[in-house]
Amino acid sequence: MTSDAPATDNRPFAIRTYAPAQLREALRRMYLIRRFEEGAEDSYMRGLIHGTMHLSIGQEASAMATCMELTDADKITSTHRGHGHCIAKGADVGRMFAEFFGKETGYCHGRGGSMHIADVRTGNLGANGIVGGGLPIAVGAALTAKRLGRDDVTVCFFGDGANNEGAFHEALNMASVWKLPVIFVCENNGYGMSTAVTRSTAVRHIADRASAYSMPGITVDGNDFSAVAEAVHAAIVRARAGDGPSLVENVTYRWRGHSKSDRNRYRTKEEIEEWMTRDPIARFRSELIAHGILDEAAADAVAAEAMAEVEAGIAFAKSSPAPAIGDVTRYVYAEN
């Protein structure tokens, strides 16, 4: 971060806070998330990936802006819609594709797939197939940091659906009682599978839940990179200072269905198209260009870099070996 911004600077938070190289890298990773998921979707259609997957296309600003100030020592817990978090935290898309293709070179050696993708070395403790499953785990990771006297923080991503799980309430309460360095980041994309938040949740904003647990709660436009980055920044500062947890709600939208089985019967084409006009990547790109961080050609080059990385990743995955069938029970327990 640069700290030489003038006091009267009224440019967006990200522009006045981060160095141009950081902003360029953030844009690159957002393109990488988009192209990765498009590549995964295409590979799925071609039968190269089995099972299912949950795409976060349209939510890239939430993932990237939240991870902007995290180091490898900082942890995240992710969700079933976790590809973006993984890439934002620094994962290699080749190893991610390899995992999706069920290959031994994948992050989980082909045992986890999309729903359990993790990269422990970059602090990503993993996606989760259980809604709300990561919430208590994130609190545990924050407990470790506090107990060992480290100043790293844990970001706990969860969706709007998880806010009605008991684990959410138990986790927020304990994090607050013990003043743990955890940032609860709700990605509210409007629907828990097909059920609208307005039909499932008694409070207007999920951030309103924070007051029940005596922590700050803020609702921001999750498609506005700077708004997310600023809210998460304040929460990280608070956590690192030992003042405890915060709840940040990023209001966003998934362009694709819940999973591959979704027929979109619970929302209108008009609603989806309206949200597509609020593309977080196009918006961030325009902001960077407007503030002179990049020009159109440089932004195009960033997008092309991401595309090339995705193509190389798919090639790596395709050429990687599958796990040995005889290893089906390997990794159940530690190997001596």
Partner: protein
């Protein structure tokens, strides 16, 4: 506390032995913490943690809110990131509130992440009937967890094993569940000083015999030993095997005994159907030991009912010395 037997060996109660193991572990390893409901100044519902909060402080002997799902999940997250938590369920029955974190998370994380993660958490679970606490505080559900790859499930029957198994569980990189029988907490026996490890997955022949094999776990070991003693007066020689661990299970010791005696009875406190007895019976039936059987296999488990309140009903619901003795006699005389 440091009573001696006539032979000069040091004697501790089962709960003192567990407490000593926890104290040794906490002294030797700063990453070991205790978590649970009312385990601090209250000393735990069964006084197992007694004065540990005075010795190690509330940061390492943590009273949790009444949030079993969240609490177990915090322990899982802490274990995943570098601590070694011992989480005490106040009653094993309450583990049902935390099944998600135990079964979906703790047990599977290593596998889902392809061996890239480790969850060295220990769950302590006071179990069993005989206290008049009725259906929701008296169950024996250890077999449920025997069905879950990734977990280790122990049932110490003596103070010596209670200490050694807890120290082994802490040294183990995978999640371990220790079912402690509530009626054994006050039982006294020889406990070696200092640190020692009781091997996980190794059964123990507590009494040698030639006419039949009785495999039992936890408090049933003592009942089986008493029944064997009574039968010896009639000239019936029963071998009693203390199972100690139901996952992993020690097939070798059991099969060797059945090959020798030709008769098998399994005694356990869980409901008879789909229990430990079914697993062991099938294991024998699937092995060469089957050819050595001279009589059908007998299972003695709990009645097909919740644990009742009335003391006579409660007693009748689970195997007692008399029922074990009678069944063993029938088996030895081939009256089954």
């Amino acid at each position: 506390m440091n009573a001696m037997t006539e032979t000069g060996l040091r004697v501790l109660s089962y709960s003192e032995a567990i407490r000593e193991a926890m104290a040794i572990a906490m002294e030797n390893d700063p990453t070991v913490i205790l978590m649970g409901e009312d385990i601090g100044v209250y000393g735990g519902a069964f006084q197992v943690t007694l004065d540990l909060v005075d010795r190690f402080g509330p940061d390492r002997v943590m009273d949790t809110p009444i949030s079993e799902l969240g609490g177990a999940g915090v322990a899982v997250g802490a274990a995943l990131t570098g601590l070694k938590p011992i989480y005490e369920f106040q009653f094993s029955d309450f583990a049902m509130l935390a099944m998600e974190q135990i079964v979906n998370q703790a047990a599977k994380l290593r596998y889902m992440l392809g061996g890239e993660a480790s969850v060295p958490v220990v769950f302590r679970l006071p179990a069993g009937s005989g206290t008049g606490a009725a259906a929701q505080h008296s169950q024996s559900i250890e077999a449920w967890f025997g069905h879950v790859p990734g977990l280790k499930v122990l049932q110490p029957a003596t103070p010596e094993d209670a200490k050694g198994m807890l120290l082994s569980a802490l040294a183990d990189p995978d999640p371990v569940m220790i079912f402690e029988h509530k009626l054994l907490y006050k039982m006294k026996g020889h406990v070696p000083e200092g640190s020692y490890l009781t091997p996980i997955g190794k059964a123990l022949v507590r009494r040698s015999g030639t006419d039949l094999t009785i495999v039992a776990g936890s408090i049933m070991v003592h009942r089986a030993l008493e029944a064997a003693e009574r039968l010896a007066a009639e000239g019936i020689s029963a071998e009693v095997i203390d199972l100690r661990s139901i996952r992993p299970i020690d097939a070798e010791t059991i099969l060797a005994s059945v090959r020798k005696t030709g008769r098998l009875m399994v005694v356990y406190e869980g409901v008879k159907a789909f229990g430990v007895g079914a697993e062991i019976s099938a294991m024998v039936a699937e092995s060469d030991a089957f050819d050595h059987l001279d009589a059908p296999i007998l299972r003695l488990g709990a009645a097909d009912a919740p644990v009742p309140y009335n003391p006579d009903l409660e007693r009748a619901a689970v195997p007692q010395v008399e029922t074990i003795e009678a069944a063993a006699r029938r088996l030895a005389r081939r009256e089954v």
